[in-house]
């Protein structure tokens, strides 16, 4: 209906006005993309470019209300202190553990979930994904309940049952790290399974059929076909895990709220938050932030280069 009416309308137009209209349309086609991407450009300038330039400038300043002075590299020199080392160390250990747990295990579970032999696949997939729906805060509430300090708390009674002594989970470095890694693993397992499942579904079935004809067993098939074919997804998961691990803040905040005993839960982002929003040492906080940015970009560039080189060799 609409088409008809617009057709009849256009045939009624005189040649002149049609030309004018066409020119307007060509102009519109030329400018529309710029109008459409304008929100991104504005947002980029206002909420990324300006703040990042400001951060770089701030990192060379001493900023206190009404008094801003350039102090050169002083803020960066201040980075050489035990608390910053602790923050970097905790963050690195946490990231490493999330990589060790959240890549191989979801991969294996995804392979099992992808097999037609496995019953109730959808039920298992949903069940494993559900923790991802909670906020870190709610997850933290639950974990603090389970890992309470009383000897009768769930985790401690389980330990006693197995013959170990009960723990003060939130008071020691090792158990504290365990709490953070466990919380992250619990929330992210299902998401990474989904990533690997998506990758598995992209592997052509013929590859497996051919391997079966050659007499390859399940283990050989996994290492010769599945693993290499999952490489793009694995690199993606690795990249976002490094990114997510190094910027971690909430997983520590829910346990200690930025004031952990002996800094056992101090992370780089937590340190930025403390220095910037609690001690108001804005220049120093900016310097920490830039170092964090550098770490993430460096590790991910190296990692992508490393695996990228391998990919070229293969093809």
């Amino acid at each position: 209906m609409k088409q008809e009416s617009s057709l009849s309308k256009s045939s009624e137009l005189s040649v002149g006005s049609r030309l004018k209209r066409d020119r307007k349309k060509i102009l519109s086609a030329k400018y529309t993309p710029y109008i459409m991407i304008a929100p991104f450009v504005i947002s980029f300038l206002l909420f990324f470019l300006y703040p990042i330039i400001k951060t770089v400038i701030m990192s060379f300043q001493s900023i206190y209300p009404g008094e801003t002075t350039f102090i050169g590299w002083e803020n960066y020199r201040k980075l050489f202190n035990p608390r910053f080392y602790t923050a970097v160390f905790n963050t690195a250990v946490y990231t490493l553990w999330t990589l060790i747990i959240l890549i191989p295990i979801p991969m294996i579970l995804a392979v099992i979930l992808n097999s037609k032999l496995t019953p109730w696949r959808n039920v298992f997939r949903s069940a494993l994904f559900i923790p991802a729906l909670t906020s870190v805060i709610v997850a933290g509430v639950i974990f603090r309940l389970i890992f309470g300090e009383s000897e009768l708390s769930l985790a401690n009674s389980l330990l006693t049952m197995l013959g170990f002594s009960p723990q003060q989970w939130m008071m020691n470095w090792g158990t504290g790290m365990f709490l953070m890694v466990f919380l992250a693993s619990w929330r992210w397992m299902g998401v990474n399974i989904l990533y690997f499942l998506a990758g598995l579904q992209n592997i052509p079935k013929e590859l497996y059929e051919a391997a079966e004809i050659d007499g390859a067993g399940p283990i050989k098939k996994f290492f010769r076909i599945t693993l290499p074919m999952l490489k793009p997804v694995t690199i993606y998961v690795l990249t976002i895990s490094i990114y997510g691990g190094f910027r971690m803040f909430e997983e520590s905040y829910v346990y200690w709220e930025n004031n952990s005993p002996g800094d056992i839960g101090l992370t780089i982002t937590g340190y930025i938050y403390q220095e910037g929003f609690q001690n108001f040492d804005l220049g120093f906080a900016a310097a920490i932030g830039l170092v964090l940015l550098l770490i993430i970009l460096l590790i991910n560039t190296v990692q992508l280069q490393f695996f990228g080189l391998f990919r070229k060799e293969n093809s």
């Binding site: 617009s6 309308k9 256009s10 349309k25 519109s28 529309t32 993309p33 459409m36 991407i37 929100p39 991104f40 450009v41 947002s43 980029f44 206002l46 909420f47 990324f48 300006y50 990042i52 400001k54 579970l109 032999l117 496995t118 949903s126 069940a127 494993l128 994904f129 559900i130 870190v136 805060i137 709610v138 933290g140 509430v141 974990f143 309940l145 309470g148 009383s150 708390s153 985790a155 009674s157 989904l194 990533y195 998506a198 990758g199 399940p218 997804v233 993606y236 990249t239 990114y243 190094f246 905040y253 982002t269 930025i272 938050y273 929003f277 804005l282 906080a285 900016a286 932030g289 964090l292």
Partner: protein, 279 residues
């Protein structure tokens, strides 16, 4: 051979059941805890002693007392911010992504590079200048302050661009001949074709916004403006005596998401996996 297959099947079910139990058990623990007296819970943790006489609805009833009233304000803030953020980010991000996929224009590749680059930047490092900007724009302690800086999500832009690449371009030419304006084509013809993408991204962005923590923690300053995660986190002190709200409030904060998940499972999953499939 048959026997080995059967063994493998049993083994995988056992393994999956173990992991599924670890995944689901904490929810059961939270639900159980919500019926127990709250003041001892957070300090000493949850134990497994099931004393039916001790169990009651006190924690939930507390939400309806004068002290618990603030919880519903947080709930309302969370709902409104999530709704507004999701609508705005879907509209803006899809438009940018669509333009990057459909049109050829100068600077297109530079913009695409910036989108991908921004996906790698931890925005935490920009907190301080962003907060100063919020002060300058008078957006501190407002919904706008939470929403506007992140309204154009690079991740969503990229997602919509990938999706729009697969749309039939012939429709655009046909619409142009019919005299449809470029924005009209986007809004009336191509937009509706992207509906599955809107569904998947909408759920993902909504979930992120509902659970968002660090930025709202910085921008929102007064009790009346807090979202659920910020409000609940404030009750997480070792000395607080508001654990009743914390526990029953946590149950009610996950509940709507669980319901939505069971209704819209397909969209949840496609929204999360798209980034990994497309190279």
């Amino acid at each position: 051979m048959m026997k080995r297959r059967w063994m493998l099947k049993v083994l995988s079910v056992i393994l999956l059941t173990c992991f599924a139990m670890v995944a689901l058990f904490p929810f059961a623990a939270l639900l159980l805890a919500s019926f127990k007296p709250a003041n001892e819970l957070m300090r000493f943790g949850l134990n497994l002693q099931l004393d039916p006489e001790e169990m009651n609805l006190q924690n939930y009833l507390y939400l309806f007392t004068k002290e618990g009233k603030i919880y519903w304000t947080w709930y309302k803030n969370s709902l409104l911010i999530t709704l507004l953020f999701t609508l705005i980010t879907l509209f803006l991000s899809s438009m940018v992504g669509y333009a990057l996929a459909i049109y050829n224009f100068k600077g297109k590749n530079a913009i695409l590079f910036l989108v991908l680059f921004l996906m790698m930047i931890p925005l935490e490092i920009l907190m301080l200048p962003l907060f100063e900007e919020m002060i300058a724009f008078r957006l501190v302690d407002t919904y706008g302050g939470v929403i506007i800086p992140f309204a154009v999500s690079p991740f969503a832009v990229f997602f919509f661009r990938q999706y729009a690449l697969g749309l039939p371009k012939e429709l655009i030419d046909a619409a142009r001949i019919d005299g449809c304006s470029e924005f009209g084509i986007y809004l009336r013809i191509m937009g509706p074709l992207m509906l599955p993408a809107f569904g998947a991204m909408g759920i993902l962005q909504g979930l992120n916004s509902w659970n968002n923590f660090l930025w709202p923690l910085i921008v929102l300053r007064t009790d009346e403006m807090f979202t659920l995660p910020i409000g609940l986190a404030g009750l997480l002190t070792p000395y607080g005596n508001n654990y009743d709200v914390l526990i029953s409030g946590s149950v009610l904060a996950v509940l709507p998401i669980l319901v939505l998940f069971f209704l819209l499972q397909r969209y949840f999953i496609s929204g999360l996996t798209i980034g990994a499939i497309k190279e």
